[in-house]
């Protein structure tokens, strides 16, 4: 017997993700799923953002980590509410993990919730966690051909942060090439070259966040 099925394999995760999205929408929380390779400087960038904008917004972080809680401690040191999910070797966060973490947080007055995904450019791209947007952080030391190697994550991201621009003079990396690769699969991607270390470019990223928080409140 031939049975025509046509069902998305990750439909169960999509359902949880929709449930999360409805909950975040009701509370008008902007939710950003941050993804990168290990070592792209995601946690440092997040720390800077949490510190620089803490007088403006109430921010919270769900921290995905393979084993340790070091990143969550760094994030909590900024004063932001942070909760850690240990994936115990798992290569991505999924909707049910975020649902459980969100249940342990006080989300009443939160403006922005950052979900810091596990460092990996492949697996997290397939699993929605109720976010408004996926944000990919690529550092210039990783090579400008990364978008070509991991197309899905760049196709799905609203923003690409090109981090560690202070190292541009020392590495073979073309901002234009990386941007064009990303744009070839994603017409609407916004690209911000930044250096979390020197603060270069961070204002454009912050302005984008401010604008999205307003949009969310008005939605």
């Amino acid at each position: 017997m031939q049975i025509k099925v046509v069902r998305k394999i990750l439909e169960a995760n999509d359902r949880i993700s929709d449930q999360l999205r409805a909950m975040f929408q009701e509370k008008k929380i902007l939710v950003l799923n941050l993804m990168s390779s290990p070592g792209a400087g995601k946690t440092t960038l997040l720390e800077k953002t949490l510190t620089d904008l803490k007088s403006e917004f109430n921010m919270a972080v769900i921290e995905g980590d393979l084993q340790t809680s070091n990143d969550a401690e760094r994030v909590a040191a900024t004063g932001a509410q942070a909760i850690q999910i240990n994936t115990e070797g798992g290569c991505h966060l999924d909707g049910s993990m975020v649902l459980e973490a969100a249940g342990q947080m006080d989300l009443e007055k939160v403006d922005i919730l950052f979900v810091e995904n596990v460092g990996n450019l492949v697996c997290p791209a397939e699993f929605s966690v109720g976010e408004d947007y996926k944000i990919t952080i690529l550092s210039v030391v990783e090579g400008d051909d990364k978008p070509e190697k991991y197309p899905l994550i760049f196709a799905e991201s609203k923003v690409m942060l090109l981090n560690k621009t202070d190292l541009l003079p020392y590495v073979d990396f073309s901002l234009e090439k990386a941007s064009n690769f990303a744009k070839s699969l994603n017409k609407n991607i916004e690209i911000f070259p930044v250096s979390a270390k020197t603060r270069e470019g961070l204002d454009s990223w912050y302005d984008w966040l401010r604008q999205e928080v307003i949009k969310k409140k008005d939605s």
Binding site: M1, Q2, I3, K4, V5, V6, R7, K8, I9, L10, E11, A12, N13, G90, C91, H92, D94, V122, C123, A125, E126, F127, P147, E148, Y150, P151, L152, I153, A155, E156, N180, F181, K183, S184, L185, N186, K187
Partner: protein, 116 residues
């Protein structure tokens, strides 16, 4: 290796569909995945075999079929399917470079099963 999570979800759906149609022996499953989805077919095959070993689904054939990437040109709105170079996709109709929309190529779904 998110293929393990994917195989787990796949098995769940197969079991539901088999119960719904009142069949007990799985013969074949067909999965379709988009060219730019983050799926490694060999890894999914291995994960599926590991997941079904020793269960009633053991020994069924998993067919994994790729769905090509189809893009719609931002300039002339015509669709095209880039053959080799996925990046800097140049529209074959009007030569516009990058900034196109993806029409298909991100799918991941179970298409059909054969069982008795």
């Amino acid at each position: 290796m998110h293929e393990m999570s994917i195989a787990h979800s796949l098995v769940g759906i197969i079991e539901q569909e088999m119960a719904k149609h009142n069949v007990t022996r799985l013969i074949r499953i067909k999965v379709k995945f988009g060219r730019i989805s983050a799926i490694v077919p060999e890894a999914l095959q291995t994960a599926f075999e590991a997941m079904t070993a020793g269960t009633s689904l053991e020994g069924s054939a998993l067919e994994i079929e790729e769905v090509p990437l189809v893009a719609k040109c931002r300039e002339c709105q015509k669709e095209f399917s880039p053959e080799d170079d996925l990046m800097i996709m140049t529209c074959p109709h009007c030569s516009a470079e990058f900034g196109h929309d993806i029409v298909s190529g991100k799918e991941l779904y179970i298409d059909e099963i054969e069982a008795e």
